[in-house]
Amino acid sequence: MTTPSDPFVFPREYYFPPFFTRQTNLTTHHAQLTKWSSLILSYCRHHRLFKISLSDFAEKDLFFNKQLNRRLSLSDIREVIDFMRKNDNRAEYADSDQKNGGAGKDGAGGGGGDIVWIYWRTPEEWASLVESWVEGTAQKGTVLTVYELTEGEGTRGTEFWGIDQELLLKALQILVKRGKAQIFGQEDSLGVKFF
């Protein structure tokens, strides 16, 4: 993954020690979850992270403020992820729905449910981005490889350039369902035709 040179600016709550402790008051807790959710989304958007390993990230700056020596525990992180899943589908456990595919590709950490998709753009949103790009560049009816879409010169500068291939496929599947695209080919040389 390419990491932009400018550092991510953490929001104010990141420097607020109780932010890392699960709040007992229900309303407060909800406010806390909302803040964490938007922090995770903007963090991943900034670093263009599409999926993260929870056990991995529990040690990274996102969940561990070394300056304050405060960290969000793994179980609290899971709670935030659950909150994001239920809220606008902003997260999804990667290994739960990939039973027949490449499950546990990078899942070297703890058992199941460690890898999580963070949808700062949902597959639907990616799908419409791709769709409007195809439309805008008049490529309806042409065949493009997935590689061309994610790494090709033609898509350089678009938002989905460098996107996780698996995520792109999720998005493309949505277009397929809508009858806007067709996917064919083998595992590692997939092609897409747009209508």
Partner: protein
């Protein structure tokens, strides 16, 4: 002409005298009254003129507005009382002399501000339990303002909250220590809770032992006050310090400065 005024004529004369005194008195009175009337009308037109010519200043210049409000207070006028007390008649007939005089500029300014205050309070209520510092409200409103819209002062916000009074007791100003807070939930703080909130202002947080040492409270008392405030959502708890610390959510907004300095 007799100088001494003896005899029957003296009675007449005294009657005449008192009559002329009376008429003179009523002359004076009416002169006074008409003078007052003209003064009042002059004052009125001047105030009208003043409000008309300075309407922009009143809206945009906080010091000017503060002066104006002070002037109104000095002559016993509450420019805000005007329309809130006279909304029964509806249409144009409504509105007291002041709102008519001032062309609603002053009123509108505070009502619009009041709407913003309500917005800020309800936006942040879930994280602060409905208690927010006036200063924070001002910062938030200022941050959301378009450039050139003119500044607002804490005094303006206090007045704006005052305009919400007819809506019931939901919004009010609470003084804790030296700071003004806006309370947007209909709950009263007891004295222990106020004392804790005052203590929190110093460092941004307190702990049970800090309260025990500084306020000479028993452990149970400190614990109860803190837990009550956490229960109300007015404090956030940090369990990752040696002793649990209870933080004011208002400190979250200040943490930029905190992130840079505050060694401890």
């Amino acid at each position: 002409m007799s100088r001494k005024g003896i005899g029957l004529a003296a009675f007449d004369r005294s009657r005449l005298k008192s009559a002329s005194y009376a008429s003179h008195g009523s002359n004076l009175r009416s002169a006074n009254a008409s003078a007052l009337e003209t003064q009042l009308s002059v004052f009125r037109s001047l105030l009208q003129q003043f409000a008309a010519t300075h309407a922009k200043d009143i809206r945009s210049n906080p010091t000017f507005r503060a002066q104006f409000a002070r002037m109104c207070a000095a002559i016993g006028v509450d420019p805000l009382l005007a329309s809130s007390s006279a909304d029964g008649s509806g249409g144009q007939g409504g509105g007291s002399i002041w709102s008519q005089l001032l062309g609603r500029t002053v009123n509108d300014f505070y009502f619009e501000l009041a709407v913003k205050v309500v917005e800020v309070c309800s936006d942040t209520r879930s994280e602060n339990g409905g208690l927010i510092e006036v200063r924070k409200v001002r910062e938030k409103i200022m941050a959301g303002r378009v450039e050139g819209a003119g500044g607002i002062t804490e005094d303006d916000i206090l007045r704006a909250v005052g305009t919400l009074k007819p809506l019931g007791s939901a919004y009010s100003i609470v003084k804790v220590g030296s700071k003004n807070y806006i309370r947007s939930v209909p709950k009263e703080l007891n004295t222990d809770q106020s004392a804790v909130l005052e203590a929190v202002q110093v460092l941004g947080y307190v702990s049970v032992s800090m309260l025990m040492v500084n306020l000479r409270w028993a452990r149970a008392r400190a614990q109860t006050a803190l837990e009550d405030l956490v229960g109300e959502g007015m404090l956030w708890v940090d369990k990752q310090s040696q002793e649990w610390e209870y933080w004011s959510p208002g400190f979250m907004l200040e943490s930029e400065e905190f992130g840079v300095g505050t060694a401890g």
